[in-house]
Amino acid sequence: MIQFRSVTKRYARSAPALDDVSFHVRKGEFVFLTGPSGAGKTSILKLIHMQGLPTEGEVRVSKYSSRKIRRREIPELRRRVGYVFQDFQLLEGLTAAENVAFALECTGTPRSRIEARVQRLLGQVGLAPRARSYPRELSGGEQQRVVIARALSTEPVVLLADEPTGNLDERATTGVFELFRRINAAGTTVVMATHDAELIRRNPGIRVLELEDGAVVYDSVSAGTGPGRST
C-alpha cells in the first residue's frame, strides 16, 4: 500500500530531513511513526500525501508513484489518502457539520447527498449530537473528531495522522485513539505519527517505525521481535 525506496528528502540547503529511508506498509496495517522532534515524521507523512516529492528515491502509494505522478493526479491520490493534523485546521466560521460538508463539496459530492453523508460521518466519529456546534464550542477531542470525519469523507484507503493527540489530555487521547483503531479495523490503513511513548507502550500489538535524524532506526516488523517495542 505504501512503499518508500531509498527516499531522501532535502529541503533547501540544509541537512536532509530524510536520509535513505526504506519501508513498506501493507494494506490494512496500523503503524506508529515515532522519534524525537525533527526526526522526520511529518516529512514522511507529507511525502505519502505527495505534498512535495522526494529528492531521491521513490514513494509509492497504492497505484501512484512519486516518479510518475502528474500534477492533475494528485487530487485523486489525496482523496484516497486522508490527512489529520495535530492542530485540527478547522474553519472557525463553519459548524462541525459544515466543516465536513465543505470537504464533500470540494471533492465533487452531489449536493443532494451531502447532508446524509455528513450525518453518517459525524455519527461514525461519535459526534452526531454536536453537528451544529462551532469549533470554538467544542473540546479538543471533539474538534479532532470533526477533523477525522472530514478526512474520512472521501472514503480513503489510507489515513495519515500527524500527532493527532498532541493537543489532547489523556482521556481525549484514548477516545481519539480508539476511533483510529476502529477505522483501521474496518480496513483502512493507518499511519500515525506520535511523540506519545505512553500510548505506544499501552498498545504493544501495533507496529512501530522509529526515526532519528531522518533515518529509520527501529522497525518492530523487521526487528523480528514482532509488533511492539522490545526495549
Partner: protein, 287 residues
C-alpha cells in the same frame, strides 16, 4: 453556481477589501471613461468640422453654361464627392451681400459683378484626408475653365494632426490605466486568496482539483470587474450629466463603447484574478 455562491460569500466575508478593489477598478475605469468621453466629443467635433471641409473651384469669366453643367455632373461622379453645388456669379454676390451686411450698399452699387462663379464641393465621409483633398484639387485644376482651387489645406492638416494626437493619447492613457487596473485587481485577488489560505490548504488536503479551487476566485474577479465597470459607468455618467447641464453640451458615449467598457472590465477582472490566484495557490501548497 457553487462558484458564484462561494465568490459572493468570499466578497461578503471581506467586504472592505472587495469594496476597495471595486472602488479602485471603478476609479481607474472612470478615468478611462472620462477620457473616452473627451475623445468621443473631440471626435464628434472633428467630424462636424470635417463635414464642412469644402473644396471650392472658381470658374473663369464667361464659361458657357453647357460646359458648366457637363462638368458639374462629371465632378459629381468623382468617388470622393458627396455633393456639388454650382454657385453662379449672381448667387455669389447675393451670398456675399447677405453675409456681409455692412457692405450690402457697396455690393448693390457695383456696376460689374467682380465675384466669379464657382463649384462648391463637399467630400464624402472617409474621403476627407489631406491626400484625398489634394487629389480632388489636382483633378479640378485639370479643367481649363477652372481658374483657381481653394481648400484650406492647412486647416485640414491641423484637424488631422489633432485627431491623431487624440487617438494616440487615448491609446497610451487607456493602456496605462488598464495595466494599473490589472495590477490592482491582481493584488486584491491575491489578498483574497491569502485571506482564505487556510480554506485553500484544506481543499488541497482533501483532494480538490486546482480548477475547482481557482474557479470561485475567477468568478470573484469577474464580479469585481463588472461591479467596478458599472461604478465607473455611473461616475462617468454623473460627470457627463454635471458638465452637460452647467458648462457645455457634450455627447454621451456610444452604446458600443459602454458595452465594450463593461466587457473590458470583466475581462480585466478575470485576467488579473487568474494571475493572482495562480501565484498565491502555488505558494500555499508545500509542493
Amino acid at each position: 453556481m457553487r462558484s458564484l455562491r462561494e465568490a459572493t460569500r468570499g466578497m461578503r466575508r471581506a467586504p472592505l477589501l472587495s469594496g476597495l478593489s471595486i472602488a479602485a477598478i471603478g476609479l481607474s475605469l472612470f478615468i478611462i471613461g472620462l477620457f473616452a468621453l473627451t475623445a468621443h466629443n473631440i471626435d464628434e467635433a472633428l467630424t462636424d468640422v470635417e463635414s464642412r471641409v469644402e473644396v471650392v473651384a472658381y470658374l473663369e469669366e464667361g464659361t458657357p453654361e453647357a460646359i458648366v453643367s457637363v462638368a458639374r455632373s462629371e465632378i459629381g461622379g468623382f468617388p470622393e464627392i458627396e455633393e456639388v453645388r454650382f454657385v453662379s456669379k449672381v448667387e455669389a454676390l447675393y451670398d456675399a451681400s447677405r453675409e456681409l451686411t455692412e457692405f450690402s450698399d457697396v455690393f448693390s452699387d457695383l456696376e460689374v459683378n467682380p465675384l466669379p462663379a464657382s463649384f462648391e464641393l463637399r467630400l464624402r465621409e472617409g474621403s476627407r484626408t489631406p491626400e484625398d483633398v489634394e487629389r480632388v484639387a489636382e483633378r479640378l485644376r485639370g479643367y481649363e475653365f477652372v481658374e483657381e482651387v481653394r481648400y484650406g489645406r492647412e486647416w485640414v492638416d491641423k484637424v488631422y494632426a489633432l485627431r491623431r494626437i487624440a487617438g494616440g493619447a487615448a491609446l497610451a492613457l487607456g493602456s496605462a490605466f488598464a495595466l494599473g487596473s490589472i495590477l490592482l485587481i491582481g493584488t486584491a485577488v491575491r489578498m483574497a486568496v491569502l485571506a482564505r489560505s487556510r480554506e485553500i490548504s484544506i481543499m488541497q488536503t482533501v483532494g480538490a482539483t486546482d480548477s475547482f479551487i481557482r474557479r470561485p476566485f475567477l468568478v470573484e474577479g469577474l464580479l469585481t470587474g463588472v461591479a467596478g465597470g458599472i461604478l465607473a459607468l455611473g461616475l462617468t455618467w454623473l460627470a457627463w450629466w454635471t458638465v452637460n447641464r452647467s458648462l457645455l453640451e457634450l455627447q454621451w458615449l456610444p452604446d458600443l463603447w459602454v458595452a465594450l467598457g463593461i466587457v473590458l472590465a470583466a475581462a480585466l477582472g478575470v485576467l488579473a484574478a487568474g494571475r493572482g490566484v495562480r501565484k498565491e495557490i502555488s505558494r500555499i501548497e508545500a509542493l
